[in-house]
């Protein structure tokens, strides 16, 4: 009789374990299944996040050797500008050298953030003119024309040149493709 009770005790323990496993698994399915982002959504978010990063991050908050060097050389003079404003300023100056600074700056700030498999470009749309500031097609990524999916994120861009002059509004476009 005592032996029988012992066996029945095991039934309860095993039953409780099975029960809790069922509840745990069902909760796991509910939590993960409902909010899992699709691949396309992830790509959209990635483009949007990069663009927001460039729009809102100030030069003074960066720890980047290339940007630091430009500041030390007096090429960047106002550290309170955001990355996007500084690129606009280079674009506004419209010299070969300033275009190089803009390209290298975006390259330096994004290359470690963008996964290798993604193509990435940064352009300024000013009226009817679109100017490519940076495009990473020289790397081992697919050309944008051959891409399976291209995601673009656009932001209004502008910068105060001096008290009486303002560049913009223009459009900054970031494209990510795979």
């Amino acid at each position: 009789m005592f032996k029988n009770f012992k066996k029945k005790g095991y039934y309860f323990i095993i039953d409780a374990l099975i029960g809790s496993t069922i509840i745990f698994l069902s909760l796991l399915v509910i939590i993960n299944g409902g909010v899992k982002p699709t691949k396309i959504q992830y790509n959209y978010e990635m483009a949007e996040e990069y663009n927001t990063f460039i729009l809102t991050t100030k030069i003074q908050d960066l720890q980047n050797p290339y940007v630091k060097n430009l500041y030390n050389l007096g090429i960047i003079t106002d550290k309170s500008l955001t990355i996007m404003e500084q690129v606009d300023l280079f674009y506004y100056k419209n010299t070969t050298l300033s275009q190089t600074y803009a390209r290298k700056m975006i390259e330096n700030l994004t290359e470690s953030l963008i996964p290798d498999k993604y193509g990435f470009s940064y352009s300024i749309i000013d009226g009817a003119t679109t100017t490519d500031i940076y495009n990473n097609t020289d790397k081992s990524v697919a050309n944008i024309e051959d891409a399976k999916i291209v995601i673009a994120s656009r932001k209004i861009t502008f910068v105060q040149i001096n008290s009486s002059t303002m560049f913009g509004p223009a459009m900054t476009e970031i494209k990510i493709w795979i």
């Binding site: 029960g19 069922i22 069902s26 699709t38 008290s163 009486s164």
Partner: protein
């Protein structure tokens, strides 16, 4: 007996299955296939529009700065040709608001005079800037932006300018705007906001209104530059050397009994404790100079520190010029010893 125990032993399993069914039923209603595809994309669109709205406010602030600066510059030149000094603050603020908002003297009549004497093709005014962003938003981002400028006020009031910077003015624009998705309308989200955007605008580089509007010969076109020397905010440190440096710079400095930049538009001589400015005029700035006047700018233009008004005027050499100062001013700048009596 054994069967009875086995039935009880699956009690937990049965309960957990029932709970799981309950959970799945409750939570799966939030993630039905109808919304599954739509929610993520609308979330991204809402994020895009939210960032756009924040960015728009920064753009409006920048536009206010540029428009204000340009409007102040244009109305000084406009008033030189058309009317001289304003009657009072209200008269000035009315013209300023119109020029800053639409580039014309009267925004309700766009056939009214252009504030820009040269009819500048460069559209600096606020409406032009807002129309640009409205069009580009619709064209390139499919975002519809509507706006209404409710009021504009310019001031150097202490509450609005807590830093008491005499070299900047404050402009407050009350603006309403509405941002919606052009494709989805109000389906995704709507930003509807009325906000007062206040912006500090420098006066460095602008024409001094008193000098420009007072001088009928148009020779005085001194622009505002800020004195950077050691006596900028210390009245006790003036001596012949620092005074000469200040004179040679042709700059303006803070002086608690001076006249603020804005007051100069309607020729108000009430001392402005926080925002008063003064400069010493050069004889070359003012051909046909009245030698019996003190050369402190607002004293000179207002003709109220003269020998005729009972002041004693000293003559002295500053830089390479012969300069006339009243005795009180000469004592303030600690240069009385440099001077000899000119009149009476």
């Amino acid at each position: 007996m054994d069967i009875k125990f086995r039935k009880k032993a699956i009690l937990f399993s049965l309960m957990s299955i029932l709970f799981s069914i309950l959970f799945v039923t409750i939570f799966s209603t939030n993630f039905t296939t109808t919304y599954e595809d739509r929610i993520p994309s609308s979330n991204i669109r809402v994020k895009v529009m939210d960032t756009y709205t924040k960015n728009l406010e920064t753009y409006i602030s920048g536009s206010i700065k540029t428009s204000t600066y340009r409007a102040l510059d244009e109305i000084t030149k406009y008033r030189y040709v058309n009317g001289g000094f304003f009657k009072n603050f209200s008269d000035f603020n009315n013209t300023f608001s119109n020029c800053m908002v639409c580039g014309h003297i009267n925004c309700s009549n766009m056939l009214s005079a252009n504030c820009s004497i040269g009819n500048s093709k460069d559209k600096y005014y606020l409406i032009s800037k807002l129309e640009d962003v409205k069009n580009i938003s619709l064209d390139k981002m499919n975002i519809k932006m509507e706006y209404k400028i409710n009021s504009v006020e310019i001031t150097q009031d202490t509450q609005e300018n807590p830093r008491h910077d005499p070299f900047s003015i404050q402009v407050a624009v009350n603006i309403s705007y509405n941002v919606t998705d052009n494709a989805g309308g109000n389906y995704y989200a709507t930003w509807n906001k009325e906000k007062v955007i206040s912006q500090a605008v420098t006066i460095i580089g602008l024409l001094d209104p008193t000098g420009y509007l007072s001088d009928s010969t148009h020779d005085n076109n001194r622009t505002i530059t800020q004195y950077q020397g050691s006596c900028a905010f210390d009245e006790s440190c003036w001596n012949p050397v620092t005074t000469e440096q200040f004179y040679n710079e042709s700059s303006f400095r803070y002086y608690s009994n001076g006249i603020s930049f804005l007051q100069r538009y309607w020729n108000d001589n009430t001392p402005s404790y926080y925002y008063g400015l003064e400069t010493i005029l050069h004889p070359t700035d003012i051909p046909g100079i009245n030698l019996t006047n003190s050369y402190i700018d607002n004293y000179y233009w207002n003709n109220d520190h003269t020998c005729a008004s009972g002041k004693t005027i000293l003559t002295m050499t500053l830089g390479s010029d012969t300069v006339h100062l009243d005795t009180t001013t000469a004592a303030r700048y600690n240069v009385t010893n440099l001077g000899t009596g000119y009149c009476p």
